[in-house]
Amino acid sequence: MADLLGANGTREKFRVVGKPNIPGLTSYALATGVAKFGADYIAPDMLFAKILRSPYAHARVLNVDFSEALKIPGVVDVIFWTDPIFKGIAPNPIGGAAGDYLRNEAHHEGAEVAAVVVAESEGLCDEALNALKVDWEQLPFIVDIEKGSDPALPAIRGPEYDESGTYGPPMTTADGIAWMATHYPDDPRKQGNVGWSTKTEGDMEAGWKAADFTLEYDVNLHDVVSLLPNPQASVAWWTENAYKSGETLRIEGAVGRRGAVATMYGLPNDNVIQEGVFQGGKYCDWGLRMAQEITPLLSKKLGRPVRCCNTREENFDMCVNERRAHVKLGVTNEGLITAVDDSSLIDHGAPNSSEMTVYDRDWNGYYTLKCENITQLYTVVDSNRGFMHTCGQFVPYSWDMITVGLYLIAEKFGKDPTEIARLNLHGPDSQRDLNLVPSFEKCLEEGKKEMNWNWHAAGTKRLPDGRLHGASFRYQMCPRHAFLSYFTKLEYRGGVVHFPTQGPVAGWFGTECFTMIAAEELGLNFEDIVVDYDYRAEHTDEAGGSDGVTGHGWIVKECANLLKKRILEAVIADTLVTTSRFGPMEFPKAPSPFAGYSAEDLDLMNGCVIVKAKPEISVPLAQACTATVTADYGGNSPKSAWATQFGRKLDTMNTSWCEVAVDIETGEVEILKYLVVADVGKVIRRTSLESQIDQVVFFSQGAQLLEEYILDPATGVKLNANMLDYRRPTTLDVPLVSKDILETRAGDGAYGASGISHNLANSHLIITAIHNATGVWVDPPATPDRMIAALAKGGKL
């Protein structure tokens, strides 16, 4: 069991945490349609807005003739990028220097640019947009990053995106580990659209020398979309408020942190009324879209509520950027990796895209190896492929350079890749620790058992129906966000504990997890905690899925313990009061059974205050404590190995396993079984945990079997940015995920819990299984067209 800080890290008996079938607090609303999403919000007398979007991959708007648009009855206004309302706005959600909110240069097809039309209906907005005569200056663009990697090409970004200030030493973690740098001091300076970033650790020369042979391979990761199926929207208006100074902004549907909206508009939090807790599905995409942010500006200008709603097509922003890795490994004849050289060509996306997807090399898995000699050379190319909002897919998504490497070593020696993984994985404490990692060993053992694991060489097993059989394995560390700070407040009043949260309600049902933790610590039942969804609350669920819940859960645990202490102190304080009053009358009060005890002598159990030494002295909480008691707790949860060591220390691990059948004549791939064995340390809410696994595996399956972002090479236009052509898997296309959840308490969140979501996301587990079936590598997604081409190239057809 981990040595956990804080209260109850070593708790052994759980009444609420881990209890199955705890219902979702908002499930009824979601299942019945009562839940309101962004697009559902309307307001009386509201106007509608639509933003002009670029039909070109890179273009500048020189002029817009809007005279015809304004002639359309019901069209109210056309507002341009030059309007003062767009000046001096801080970017959301991270903040930064205030600047122009709307610009006249578009850096990808579909980008919002230059003009907003406002009308009495959405249809009239479409009509008005169509009537605009836009004078476009088409500019050079890059959608093929390989072609774009020529430093001699003209720069597609202006001087305002200069990177010269980003050359410097890397940030370091709390453990003193060198973490992320955009460019290191010695990196060559950016030329044209191409920047370089090189990180070398260990002694590469010694690493190559120790190797008996080298192994080179490519791992190509394509970009996939974030795809928010619930259209992003907002409606906003301003009011004078007699109780607050200044105007109050009311914004509905822009689900996200209230603080972000307030910061953007330079308002005190109390001057923002925010409505909406349901945000729908998304994968670690924290960015609000322009449709959610722009309505206050427009409403201020026009004096009426304004609504703006994206179409689904307008929601097709990138979630993961393209990366083409060429990896060279030094390997001994025993299969031990001695040197790693990763040369990656990476898409930088449109300006202001999340760079977390680009430069964060540290979570890519190399540090789980005993090998300490690692060079990573990143060639980063500015492009016009699309915009990447803040997202975190990059972490596990790029872990598969090692999955493939270990598999290839195993293939070379005719060995089981799990053996090669065991050989190369370092011990729990450091890369030089030769001990086995208990959590990994357990996940391996369980996985083999459940898969009936019987390794075979590539292309050697045929199923009775004639298809080829393949299997694959990968491992990862379970993640926990420990770099975010959290805040929780709990209030006891009227016999009930209230838990205020601003939400939002996202896929992982974090509020339920937190409520269970609070109930556990307070000796109450889940139902005894009243969750108050309140936009004014500081607590937010936007904590990063299970990875964040386990960190945030620790804060809730501490807060609940603080509240418990204060409640018990209030109970003791109450024993000193001998009378009660009603108006002018005073009555003698019955003596408290807790008189003579101290708060330390008491405990909360099953909704009652008890004396620890004499549990038969028990009074229902509502009677025992009539005071109102609050507790709040904020800050960071304890350091997590995942977030500070990036794999150099290993605690909770997971393994994923996949079996496929490949029809070699049609190129069809069927996933026969997909198993996740995860040591999550401690299960908080099983339904949340399982749904996290389901969605991350669904993402991974889609990315490897069907999904890709297709751009027209000649124009840079997105060709499949719609629900039909983009092809997310349907439930018929992927199997149910088998899950085996282990609880070693070895994590470093509340009760030794770790998260699960990010590090199960992968790009090559299925691809590796396909290779095991066919002996052929296919770049994801393994659609039949790509499969047939790869099989033909590999001489299999």
């Binding site: 209906s121 959405e122 009509e127 169509n130 097509e313 190129g667 060709l719 898997p729 296309d733 659609t783």
Partner: protein, 326 residues
């Protein structure tokens, strides 16, 4: 969606006149038209949408002697679950039941399915982004662009209203077209009766030979022994929702003297695999013959690099379906 006038037609003649007058389009189930309107793909946005669903009595499925008659407004779901269709033309029921998704099959019609516009992503890109040849523009963008889903049997030449020559390599992806072809269906319109080999075509904003204002009224399927011994196979990347990348219908008469093979998704119009038919006529299927027929079905294909996989699929699908008919 931009504003338009919506008119409920009470007769085909009224609807025909309205559509003929220009600036108007007909809508039945809306499965094809509504997304096109929402995406604003037309060069001229229609001012009037003429609702055909308000015309009574056009959704029938009846048996008239040895002919199965289906009204143009019969939904795919009705066709799929019709005992008459299941008993007399089972592959039509199967094809109708495999199109799109359950909810869309409840609204989309057989008329709409056979008249649907191309699925080419250049043609369909929103806000009429590509003024392509199929809209009367000067260029087929797919020829030099991303053509992974396009024709492997070359493009179709056609003339614009102004008489200018154009080419398009978008494929016909109607779910039912290959089936109706092998069943030698007749298409009854407001003005004429068109045979299966003549109905489908390529033109500006059309996939049929129907003239402006000419509306499909009924589809007639002769109940020959072809209808009884037939197969339908669709190949799509996903198991639901998707249009078929390739679909295939095969029918053979009882003495096996004549085979009908038609493929969708491989050419601008449903593709009759004549070479394969000739090879098979009069023969009983053997594994060798099935394989040879698959190869023959793909003969003449001139794929692009990106859609060469379709040739492999044609060979495999034809072979495999024939092997189920031994």
């Amino acid at each position: 969606m931009r504003p338009f006038n919506h008119i409920n037609a009470n007769s085909l003649d009224t609807a025909s006149e309205l559509v003929k007058s220009g600036g108007a389009v007909a809508i039945a189930g809306g499965g094809d038209l509504l997304p096109a309107l929402k995406d604003n793909i037309f060069p001229e946005y229609p001012k009037i949408v003429v609702n055909l669903k308000s015309i009574p009595g056009l959704d029938y499925i009846t048996l008239d002697g040895d002919t199965l008659k289906i009204g143009a407004l019969a939904t795919l779901a009705d066709i799929a679950r019709s005992p008459l269709v299941q008993a007399n033309a089972p592959i039509l029921a199967r094809a109708a039941g495999s199109a799109s998704s359950p909810s869309l099959r409840e609204t989309t019609t057989i008329g709409g399915n056979v008249c649907q516009l191309p699925r080419c992503w250049y043609f369909r890109k929103l806000n009429n982004r590509f003024d392509c040849s199929r809209k009367g523009g000067g260029q087929c963008f797919a020829i030099m662009g991303d053509n992974r889903y396009h024709s492997v049997f070359g493009g179709a030449g056609f003339n614009t209203d102004a008489g200018e020559k154009r080419t398009c390599i978008a494929v016909n992806q109607s779910e039912l077209a290959p089936v109706l072809n092998v069943l030698t269906a007749k298409f009854v319109t407001t003005g004429r009766v068109i045979g299966n080999l003549d109905f489908f075509g390529v033109g500006v904003l059309t996939t049929t030979v129907l003239n402006r204002g000419e509306l499909l009224k009924e589809i007639q399927i002769p109940l020959t022994d072809f209808a009884k011994n037939s197969r339908y196979k669709r190949f799509a990347f996903r198991k639901s929702i998707d249009f078929p990348v390739i679909n295939l219908a095969i029918a053979v008469n009882s003495d096996r003297s004549q085979y009908h093979i038609c493929l969708g998704g491989v050419a601008p119009t449903p593709y009759i695999a004549l070479k394969a038919e000739e090879l098979l006529n009069g023969k009983t299927i053997t594994p060798e013959l099935a394989e040879a027929a698959g190869i023959a079905a793909a003969e003449g294909a001139k794929p692009f690099e990106a859609n060469a996989y379709k040739v492999q699929l044609i060979k495999t699908l034809v072979k495999r379906e024939l092997l189920t008919m031994t």
